[in-house]
Amino acid sequence: MGGVPRYILQRLALTIPMVFILVSIVFLVLRVMPGDPVLAMLGGRNVSPELLAQKRHEMGLDKPLHIQYAEYITGLLRGDLGRSTRTGKPVAEELVGRLPATLELAIWGMIFAALFGIPTGILAAVRADKPSDHVIRVLHIGSFALPIFWVGLMFQVIFAVKLGWLPVASRLSGRFAFVFQRITGFYLLDAIILGDKEVLVDVAKHLVLPGVTLGLAQMGFLGRVTRAAMLEVLDTEYVTAARSKGLAERLVILRHALRNALIPIVTVFGLQFAMLMGGAVLTETVFSWPGVAGFLIQSLYYRDWWALQGTIAFIGVFVTTVNLLVDLLYSVNDPRVRY
């Protein structure tokens, strides 16, 4: 076996111990953190020592740590992430239910970031050190320097409360709850399948503010990386050669320069997308977006160990998978890359 399949297998062989180390660290950290998950669950009222002991026994917390660990890891290998103590549901079911919301938001955020970040980055590189470059650089730095929660709140006040153009938060207006049917969990797709124009517009409107808020921060970073990568490539001999052959500047930039600058851009794009799985906490909170990050925070607050362990393991697997896909994209983009 050679080429891509071998490379995938090699990467998977590295991924498995990495995820294993990650979940082991999370498992141990949770158990040394202050706070008792059983007491947090029972709420501290009328909790008798017998009840505490019974619940600890049911949850396996009275067993030695190494037994708890072994049971957790074997459960994980069977795909059993445990049951959330907060909601009473299997953690895997909770994650599957929330993943589409997070992905939908991340996709729109990244589309916004790419649409505005990459072209402005190219423009800044082409016009390096000219006034337009300075303006774009300020915009880029500003967009990822602004606190997301503040931007989100300002957007809500301006576009929802004052102007009334867009909804404040959530994924769907309450008045459409009886019409809407959750099929895939990707509301935009579900609205298209449903074929109701009003619902589709409503869902799209709900995506605008959180998508733009999330995308803004990513846009600045992506723009900076694009500019830096393009500057490096624009100085190379093959770009000079292309220009001296008389090729149009547009073709030089898009076909010769951009394509060669894409590797760092794709890397950053992929990493940022993957990181949004657990990193969109602020956007999800401000816009009441019921995604994976919000679940992680709620679980942390309630000391919901099983939910925390499961979510972090899930995010770990997701990030490494996206990384792998990004690496595979290199060969599509750059023929010199071989596996």
């Binding site: 202050p34 706070g35 008792d36 998950p37 007491l39 947090a40 669950m41 029972l42 709420g43 501290g44 009222r45 009328n46 909790v47 008798s48 009840l51 019974q54 619940k55 049911e58 907060r86 909601t87 009473g88 549901k89 909770e94 239910g97 929330r98 919301a101 709140l153 809500q156 006040v157 929802a160 409360v161 009334g164 909804p167 404040v168 938060a169 959530s170 994924r171 769907l172 207006s173 309450g174 008045r175 709850a177 009886f178 959750r182 999800e284 909170t285 401000v286 816009f287 009441s288 977006w289 019921p290 919000g294 679940f295 709620q298 607050y301 309630y302 000391r303």
Partner: protein, 512 residues
């Protein structure tokens, strides 16, 4: 022809009147539901959903909170207060058409008590019920282990384990798998996003004013405020920031309705922990705290000071008496001096709080309390904080000397504002009051009260506990938490009824 035209106009008008009222109401909240199991849940919003989808034998009349018939149309109590016989209303059915008879009532209550999930409030009925018997198709008899004057209140829809349902799995938590007796059924539950409720035609009571209710769950107080201001929701309930409520009150497009609050905040002492094991110290701190400063500086005047644990208006009537003293620094200093402290030898005490469980204002509350107590010039307060889970652990282990806590009642009776920290669960609540020399007296009075049906006498007994507590100071009542009693709605929302249940009676709400 003229008749036809008139007829059409008349029909149009009738149609407008009938259909003009919207059949869907969108409500906003920041509360979240957990596990829809009668036997294993204990949080406000899950209880709200359960009590609107099925009924108990009796209920509290919205607005007045009088005990009124529900599934049971009448009941009798034996002279010794041990046997309650409930006569079930004929014709009550679950959503699926199954009759709700004596067998169904017994099955539901037995099942809830048997499964008794650790996260639920089943103890509220299980501790007192000895047995449930079917004595006729529509008659059920409940025998108690001991007379309990609060039993009927515990059997209302306010206490979720007393709800009657069918169709739940026999031996596992129901987790939403049940049929109820109305007025609503849950159509859709999306965690952290929304709950969709629809009126059911089988409900035996008056039909809900709005057929369809959608609860939209928001992630923060700020988003909830913005949603009601922007008109994204017709109304919003629980919970707003104090400053937001004050702003919303000025909004001419909204109505802000405040209901009574039985949610209280207070300070507790571990009476075995030095230096607060000294009653003089506890009394001095009771004189030094500044409730007005907390209410004004931290809550912009929205919350109100309280001088007893029992909220006003709670049954039995006349139970609540303001027994704790108003602020008096001179008396505080005198008590501290009596306890052997001085400006040169100040009392050093910890004040524990938890930073997020009660909202974002808790650190400010602790700071105001510290300043107020230190104004005696004879106390040094060390502020300490722990996140909720760790807080509970340390509290129940007896690790706090002086600490802040909040209370929302398990059932609406004065005993529930007196017993938990003294006679019921003193160790898990961290006061360790069971080791206090006066503990037997509290216990005796409380047991006497539980066995006393006469409300006037019972109120007197509760007053006695309050008077004792002002001397022993196991707690210092601080303020009524009014924030959770505000209902903010668009002007066209009608039927808002708020009472001491602190419930949004959604079956009464409608939009014009």
């Amino acid at each position: 022809m003229r008749r036809i035209v008139l007829g059409v106009i008349l029909l149009g008008c009738v149609g407008w009147l009938v259909l003009g009222a919207s059949d869907i109401l969108v409500l906003g909240t920041i509360d979240r539901f957990t596990e829809l199991s009668f036997e294993n849940c204990y949080d406000y919003f899950t209880w709200h959903l359960l009590r609107h989808t099925t009924q108990a034998l009796i209920r509290l009349e919205p607005g007045t909170c009088e005990l009124v018939p529900s599934i049971a149309e009448s009941w009798e109590v034996s002279d010794d207060g041990l046997v309650y016989t409930f006569h079930i209303r004929p014709g009550v059915v679950f959503w699926d058409g199954t009759p709700c008879d004596a067998k169904a009532v017994k099955w539901a209550l037995d099942r809830t008590i048997r499964l008794n999930g650790p996260e639920g409030g089943v103890f509220l009925i299980a501790d007192v019920i000895k047995g449930i018997e079917v004595v006729g198709d529509l008659t059920v008899r409940i025998t108690l282990k001991y007379p309990d004057a609060t039993f009927l209140i515990r059997m209302t829809d306010n206490v979720i384990p007393s709800l009657i349902y069918a169709g739940a799995p026999e031996n596992e938590f129901c987790r939403g798998r049940y049929v109820g007796t109305g007025p609503y059924r849950i159509v859709e539950l999306v965690p952290d996003e929304r709950v969709v409720l629809e009126a059911v035609p089988t409900y035996f009571g008056p039909a809900p004013r709005t057929k369809r209710i959608v609860w939209v769950i928001y992630g923060s107080e700020a988003a909830l405020r913005a949603a009601v201001e922007a008109g994204d929701v017709d109304a919003a309930f629980r919970t707003f920031n104090p400053i937001d409520i004050i702003d919303l009150q000025k909004n001419p497009n909204l109505q802000v309705v405040r209901g009574p609050s039985v949610s209280i905040r207070y300070m507790l002492f571990n009476v075995t922990q030095p230096p607060v094991d000294n009653v003089l110290v506890r009394q001095a701190i009771a004189y030094a705290v500044n409730r007005d400063a907390i209410c004004q500086q931290v809550f912009s005047g929205l919350n109100t000071p309280i001088y007893t644990m029992v909220p006003e208006g709670l049954p039995p009537a006349g139970s609540s008496i303001p027994v704790f003293p108003k602020r008096d620094l001179a008396k505080a200093r005198a008590l501290l001096a009596q306890a052997g402290y001085s400006e040169a030898n100040p009392l050093v005490v910890n004040l524990w709080y938890t930073p997020t469980h009660y909202g974002t204002t808790e650190a400010d509350v602790a700071a105001v309390l510290k300043q107020a107590i230190e104004e005696t010039g004879m106390v040094k307060v060390n502020i300490q904080s722990l996140e909720w889970a760790a807080y509970l652990k340390q509290m129940s282990a007896g690790g706090f000397d002086m600490y802040l806590l909040g209370w929302y009642p398990d059932y609406l009776e004065a005993s529930n504002f007196l017993a938990p920290w003294t006679t019921e669960s003193p160790e898990s609540m961290g006061t360790y009051f069971n080791r206090h020399p006066n503990y037997p007296a509290y216990r005796q009075i409380m047991q006497k009260a539980y066995g006393t049906i006469d409300e006037k006498v019972r109120a007197g007994l509760y007053q006695a506990i309050q008077i004792l507590s002002a001397y022993d100071v196991p707690w210092i009542p601080l303020w009524a938490n009014n924030q959770q009693a505000f209902f903010v709605a668009q002007k066209n929302v009608k039927g808002i009824v708020l009472d001491i249940t602190m419930e949004a009676h959604i079956e009464l709400l409608y939009k014009e």
